[in-house]
Symmetry: C2
DNA sequence: CTGCTATGTGGTACCGGTTACACATCGATT
DNA sequence: AATCGATGTGTAACCGGTACCACATAGCAG
């Protein structure tokens, strides 16, 4: 591997000139430029990224910290982040935190030592003090979903409350009269907001009762258990709005086992819009977040922040969209309201 | 951030001693050790990974190059790779190649400049000359599935041919008599081997005909199209063995649309063992690869290779296991043979 | 007493870039 | 003619580690 000094020698100029040429910083005579070009070509020279990193404290590397890449929500997000990053010449380090603060912090330590340029957090554990510390130390941070109290970083999220309302409205539209909600762990702000949206939409209805709200764990298993509990408690429920798609899948499974027809007896609606919703039977109606766009946006924002072209930190709330599918299709649609 | 020179000054020793202490290379007096410890503590010193990288050409970073993290096969693999890597103090860079040679090569260029310690290839595009070049330049490589002709690196794969046979046997066991196969793109060695296993298992049967083999694209859409074509060509087929789970899901969808009962009229079996197979209706029988184990193993091998504790390059062929589920459950099971 | 090995430490070149600063040239301005 | 800004280039310190080599001391074998 040729070094910048080799190039300098061959081109008959100093390393400073080569460096200026490479970074387009400072003046370089056109003729000199030609000589340098030739030398670089001849030596097949490629600047060493690590040396650059050491000298300039910039590594063109960002980190993506998420709970678990095996969770079907994240691969698409990660893909988007990586796509955008690589487009801008950045490389992505993947970190699975399992939503454990300890792991997160230890990743952060390692990443700092590696002069990472910035971090994307798609994690719920992170407390605002961490974010603040990062920001203070000059490491740009962008968060997904989670808003650290003291808006010390940009955030990308989607309209969970509105989404929940969309779901409930849709179910009402389809003629459902008793709509239950399986909500996610309340440490997750998304779960909280979706629950709030649901409650807001149904609290004025005559059948409303807190017993229609059951806690799940944002996973299939929890969706199953919650549905079993729910159907025992309220056999007359005719719709389930799950706080995320995985729990909706669980609901589907549980109902199928119980011999309950979907959507005939009970309609089911999820939230997130992960790919799985298209392969269930029946296909699952869901409130889709623009997952890829969220990833692309968060990545773009981080890079802007790194490169100093971001005016100010901001919270971006992306629109969600109801994707009606079989699981909420009722022959008596549009009968109500 | 404190540097090693700050520590040296405070401890009253030279940087060389600090370095020796940190790396446990060479002698350090116990008392000196104490002083150094104290100084490090006081300054909250953490050695700089980039500087280390530059000096030692070792960055404790590996790269995982795969076609697309959104493909449901890979998240679990990536998770395993990252788990093991982080256990050994390595960080993982994620690269999506889309199976395009150009992208792969450009990633490799970037990674080399970053002094990456090693690469895991879970990609099919890579030709052996690339691998050889890598190896020649001293960058350890481990491959998944794909065996570069001149065994210039370790490989982890699973028993595709045997798996295909397991699938066919199982279908025969369940009383199926005409078993079709939807095979994947033949550039993929896995697809080739599974097809070969299928052919070997059925070629001696009286109904055997090449028309029972249809090409798919390893994705849901291709599974759908292949199934449509197949059912038109052979309405009497009573089992479909798909070359991977995604195509099996496609088959399920297509059959459902056509009103064909699964498993009543046609049984369906996939290959891979991705999570999706548990949420289809009916749940999908599949030949499961030990995905997590494969990722963990490939990661472990790479790290061994990096650290020089790998004796010799080798090909590891992991066992697959038939996971029988509803999609192949026939009431007349065990009637045949 | 000499020589050898084990222990312990420091000086400094080196990894391969970036960049502040000094210096030189030259046409334009006053 | 003196001054100034734009252009162009080189020297060398610096980023923060690693590691080779020199050197010192001490115990022990011959």
């Amino acid at each position: 591997m040729a070094t910048i000094r080799d190039v300098a020698k061959l081109a008959g100029v100093s390393v400073a000139t080569i460096s200026r040429y490479l970074n387009k910083s400072g003046y370089v005579n056109v003729e000199t430029e030609q000589k340098i070009k030739k030398a670089i070509e001849a030596l097949n020279y490629e600047p060493n990224a690590v040396a650059r990193g050491l000298a300039g404290k910039k590594t063109n590397t960002i980190a993506l910290i998420l709970p678990d890449i095996s969770n079907p929500f994240f691969p698409e997000l990660a893909r988007a982040v990586e796509d955008v990053a690589s487009m801008y010449g950045y490389t992505v380090i993947l970190c699975n935190s399992d939503d454990e603060g300890v792991k997160e912090k230890s990743y952060i330590e390692v990443l700092k030592k590696k002069y990472i340029d910035g971090i994307i957090f798609a994690s719920n554990t992170l407390d605002s003090s961490d974010v603040e510390q990062m920001t203070k130390k000059g490491i740009p941070v962008v968060c997904l979903d989670r808003v650290p109290p003291k808006q010390s970083c940009s955030v990308v999220r989607s309209k969970n409350r509105e989404g929940a309302k969309l779901a409930v409205e849709h179910l009402l539209d389809m003629g459902c009269r008793k709509i239950a909600h399986i909500y996610g762990p309340q440490e997750f702000i998304t779960a909280k907001e979706r629950l709030a949206g649901y409650e807001e939409s149904v609290k004025h209805l005559d059948w409303y009762s807190p017993t229609f709200m059951i806690q799940g764990d944002f996973r299939i298993e929890g969706g199953i258990r919650a549905t079993e509990l729910l159907m025992e408690r309220h056999p007359d429920v005719d719709a389930i709005f799950a706080g995320n798609d995985l729990m909706a899948v669980g609901a589907l499974k549980a109902l199928h086992r119980m011999g309950v027809q979907v959507p005939g007896q009970v309609a089911v609606c999820g939230f997130d819009g992960i790919g799985m919703t298209e392969i269930t039977q029946p296909e699952l109606t869901t409130v889709a977040q623009p997952i890829y766009e969220m990833g692309a946006l968060v990545s773009r924002i981080l890079i802007k922040k790194i490169e100093g072209t971001l005016e100010a930190d901001q919270t971006y709330e992306l629109d969600v969209a109801l994707v009606p599918r079989e699981s909420t299709l009722r022959r008596n649609g549009h009968e109500s309201s």
